[in-house]
Amino acid sequence: MSTVVRLVIMYVFIVAGLRVLGKREFSQLSPLELVTLLLVPEIASQAILGEDFSLTNAVIALSALFTLVFISTLLRFHFGRLNRVIEGTPTVLVHDGLMYGRQMELERVSEGEVFAEMHKSGLSALDEVEWVILEPDGRMAVIPKQQETVPPEDTEAL
């Protein structure tokens, strides 16, 4: 009983903690973030398993964990509001050539990082960008502006 209770507490605490840290921590890891994520399982495993290192205890803890994960994903899929609470929502950093400073400060994304992502997509100027969206998994999606296509008859005229 105590193993399951300890696991549930730690699961909720870790999910909530990572959610508070923000999207950035899931993607590009700085040394500080890496250390944090390496320490979390070390601390959590002691809290969950205690002094009981038996196979039985591990099977119980993993069963409870897998059940929790499955139920979480199931509820997340069926209830959009819950998904937004657990996963978060995408954040628009750039739209139509304009950077949204408040969102960048909230997500701790610098102008340089946005440009680095733009460069990977072959873009060099903000004017070329339709959207830069920070997705809930921490990755940036860069969508270029649609090129204005010249109708075929106009091409012939040229």
């Binding site: 009983m1 039985t56 119980i60 069963s63 609470v85 954040t91 739209h95 304009l98 949204y100």
Partner: protein
Amino acid sequence: MNESVAFGRRGGQRDPRIIDAEPPSPPSPPLQGKLWRFYRHQMVGIPLLLIITIAAMAGLFGDTESTTTKTEGDLEARLVVPNRFRFKMIGPLTLKVTNRGRDPIEATMVRISRPYLEEFSNVRFSPAESHISGEWHVFELGEIAPGDSVVITGEIQAESFGAHRGSIEVQSDDTIIELEAETWAFP
């Protein structure tokens, strides 16, 4: 969730292409009503995981002790052993021998089967056994006055998994009490 607080002051000039307005909503996916749909292996596996979790919460895999009390003539023996416990966990093995009669009981002796104790590690008793004789750990308790009790307090640690069965005998001048111990050690 989207409310925020800000601290500090921006230094230097700000590029006019950076604004503080609320951005428009990003492109959103089309929506559909959802069914609860599962693979067949999930229909088996998930209830199984749930059963293990619920069984653990109900204490089915937890440590338990069993207590057996037997009386023969003036001699009473009360045995407490782990009924089930997990690998490397320590459980009690306690035997209380009481004289329920009006006369002292001479030469009381307790024997615990050796093969049973060999299934465990860190076996400790207080008082310690007097000697090991053949298949038995022997405790010579001597005389027990009327109404008095002698307690052998022990600890055993789960080592090999499975069901371990053993006998415990309490013997005085003319009386023998036989007790059965059964302990399940989970891996």
